[in-house]
Symmetry: C2
DNA sequence: GTCTATAATTTGATAGAC
DNA sequence: GTCTATCAAATTATAGAC
């Protein structure tokens, strides 16, 4: 969790690279365009990120850390499972509606089969961590309530399955929202997901 | 619905282009690679598809027609809404598990913001037609059963929302399945979706 | 329909000066 | 850290012969 992990200029480059990747995928990023976006030359961008695959990995890792930081502790006792999933939905809605680009790992995940290995691994780790956060968010609730024994292995497994489903649905709705140019698909998903969260507790 | 819309060689090219696009997106396709795949030269591929955007559009349109043909009539009275959604799930499972590549429009949809306009429009049309098929599949059931009045406008709207959600979820689970290298995410989605279909009828 | 040849551009990446 | 200069390779696309 070291702050200032990248220099100010390196962060500018990562910002520009993240935006382009979220618009058009890994191949949409070029050193020339990044250079122009941050006011230096392409060879100077290579100084900060020698290989494009390393740049890609850095973008994904920073993105993952940012999103998890926004979501906060998955087992914050102040929240219910429903509230936590709402927070997750809000994060995805903010990305598409206000930043006007889909989730980075939605775009990169779709081209997984053609991604440089280090980038592909970073995307895989993003999904693992997001699913872990969500599964914990679903479970922490039932632990806090009545039955003090914590969550059983089968509870954990059910939460994992539901968490994967929730993350997947959010990614998919972003794609449909993009193609139909209508963010309603994404906001409409929230009640469907919350229904599943509630059904799980019953 | 003209048969033989493309020559045999053009179809070979479309096959190769579809595979590459489903692996790595629109930019992953190159005339050189396509030429090598079908045993001719790049300039000869240009004879069949002068512009790359046209090639992309053709791939998407043929893909859309193929999938809709496989799904068949959305209001076949022999099936229930549940059976029809199962058929839809089966189509997506077949793509990922047996063809070992995700849905073409999952990949292209994710890079919508950077696609040539004609390709983007074709992808949008794919989603519209898939959602229309699914909404009809959901409604045809309640029409066939007891209340002979057909579906009310609010029924149609609810079916549209659910249809968009189902299509979106299938796309999203493909992405997660790819990144986790585990097709279970996709097969696990089916019971969640069928639950929503059943809940709608109650 | 397919070929050779070629054009014009873009790409990721490196060497070396300042 | 940033620059100029340069490279080798790949890209879409066209002209014209067969």
């Amino acid at each position: 969790m070291a702050e200032q992990q990248y220099s100010a200029k390196a962060n500018e480059i990562l910002n520009a690279a993240e935006l382009r990747m979220r618009q058009g995928g890994f191949d949409a990023v070029s050193y020339r365009d990044l250079a122009a976006a941050v006011g230096i030359k392409a060879s100077s961008v290579h100084y900060h990120f020698p290989q494009k695959a390393d740049l890609g990995r850095a973008v994904v890792e920073r993105y993952t850390a940012k999103l998890l930081a926004f979501l906060g502790q998955a087992d914050d006792p102040a929240d219910s499972a429903e509230t936590r999933v709402q927070k997750l939905c809000a994060a995805y809605q903010h990305a598409l509606i206000h930043e006007e680009v889909p989730c980075l790992c939605c775009v990169l995940g779709a081209e997984s089969l053609d991604l440089p290995p280090v980038v592909c691994q970073a995307v895989g780790k993003f999904f693992e961590q997001m699913i872990h956060w969500t599964a914990t968010a679903l479970l922490a609730n039932s632990e806090a309530s009545g039955n003090g024994a914590g969550s059983s292995p089968s509870d954990r497994q059910a939460a994992e399955v539901l968490a994967r489903h929730i993350i997947s649905t959010l990614q998919g709705t972003m794609i449909t929202a993009l193609t139909l140019q209508d963010t309603k698909v994404l906001t409409d998903a929230e009640p469907f997901l919350l229904r599943l969260v509630r059904a799980k507790d019953v």
